[in-house]
């Protein structure tokens, strides 16, 4: 089954990767099992974002770079403003990486 490894770059994904990395290097865990854990993390994270999160956000900014390669959009925005229901954030530069949602349903 296809999974997006995208979320491994998030905070929790990096924590998990760090942990698994140490355990593999210390010999506590086999690499194959660690990869299984990561794949399960991909699935669980995708499912959790779909079912448990209801936030809507709006982003506006200057598009500095756009790239579409291998069904992945990458944008770099400058002076971006993030608006959600209860807060607003401004950043000087943000990178947006987005995978095609249709790939998961195929």
């Amino acid at each position: 089954m296809a999974t997006f490894e995208l979320y491994r770059r998030s905070t929790s994904g990096m924590c998990l990767t760090e942990t698994l990395d140490e355990m593999v290097q210390s010999g506590t865990l086999s690499p194959e099992l660690a990869i299984q854990v990561l794949v399960q993390f991909d699935k669980s994270m995708t499912e959790a974002l779909e079912s448990q999160v209801k936030t809507k956000v709006s982003i506006k900014g200057h598009l500095h770079t756009y790239r579409f390669c291998d069904n992945v959009w990458t944008f770099i925005l400058q002076d971006a403003m993030f608006k959600s229901e209860d807060r607003q954030e401004n950043v000087s530069q943000v990178k947006i990486v987005a995978c095609d949602s249709k790939l998961l349903t195929q």
């Binding site: 296809a2 997006f4 490894e5 995208l6 979320y7 770059r9 998030s10 905070t11 929790s12 924590c15 998990l16 990767t17 760090e18 942990t19 698994l20 140490e22 355990m23 593999v24 506590t28 865990l29 086999s30 099992l33 993390f41 991909d42 669980s44 994270m45 959790a48 974002l49 779909e50 999160v53 209801k54 936030t55 809507k56 956000v57 709006s58 982003i59 506006k60 900014g61 200057h62 598009l63 770079t65 291998d70 069904n71 992945v72 990458t74 944008f75 770099i76 400058q78 959600s84 954030e89 950043v91 530069q93 943000v94 990178k95 947006i96 990486v97 987005a98 995978c99 095609d100 949602s101």
Partner: protein, 403 residues
Amino acid sequence: MATTTTTSGVYIHVIEDVVSKVREEFVNNGGPGESVLSELQGVIFFFFFVSEKIWETKMMQAGVLSGPIERSSAQRPTPGGPLTHDLNVPYEGTEEYETPTAEMLFPPTPMQTPLPTPLPGTADNSSMYNIPTGSSDYPTPGTENGSHVDVKARPSPYMQPPSPWTNPRLDVNVAYVDGRDEAERGNPNQHFTQDLFVPSTGKRKRDDSSAQYQNGGSIPQQDGASDALPMATLEGDTLCITFVGDKRVPRDFICSSSKIPQVDGPMPDPYDEMLSTPNIYSYQRPSEDFNEGRTPAPNEIQTSTPVTAQNDVIEDDEELLNEDDDDDELDDLESGEDMNTQHLVLAQFDKVTRTKSRWKCNLKDGIMHINDKDILFNKVLCFPFPQLSLELFWLTIILTLAV
């Protein structure tokens, strides 16, 4: 419910979900066992809260915070439930909840959970930096990092190099399909290898190309169209080379003297004509000394440096002409982004459209890491627009008015 929709609540749910689903693999089939699984869960939580604790400490040291931020009562978890921790607010240990430990965060398992180094209290923040858990991997988000390994790439938390045991061909940006990527990536390499042997015959099985080589046929080793294959004959003490091709080089030039000029630098005049003709492989090898009695095999002469020498001249010109082609600002930006991505959004896209210079992106199910905060979203509408120069801006206005 408020607790399940907070960022940390979702993360905790994900961790527990993952652990429960891989428990079978750990326990059965000769896996590492329940203790390792519990340790994994505990260490993940540990890393989670350590990173936030460091953030709070840094902010206090920077004078941004005068003290730990007061937590609102609404954020305290219900008794008996799992401790939910909102990453968006620095954590403050209270009387009821000391700094969370692995034991507190999830129900006790039948086997004793081996407790990693517990989180120190607020007074012992400095000891965190001595934790041998790769603390260098958790600098403040604003820290620049010198090392970077390209993915297909840390210690920025978002660009950690892939571990040696992970599949080095996996790209985090590409949907992962079991087994498919390996097959896809195997073939291009194979074709590339084949092309080295037989550039003009297209796709061919490896066996055929190797058989051809073993038959003793000459394999052209020049780049590009190999129209002119030089033939070398040894006449007396002089090696004469004639070219079968569009142009013949007068043999006088080459065989006239036993000594071949070995001056480096610009070619002498008699050779200008040769050089000016594009398809000729001009014989000019200042570095070669044939008077030493070396008799290179005929085929070796083809690996020719006159071509290289000629190309060097051309390349120098090209370098001069192309030296400003790259947008250094963009390159720095891109590499800077890769090395130190402070603000990152990871999501899936439903639709990306563009009307002239106005883009519209519908994203969903994503994680945003902005200003040291994690924000999860279900839907995002993104409206990036390119920066217009002032002239273009006025031009756009004028055209709009004219219409």
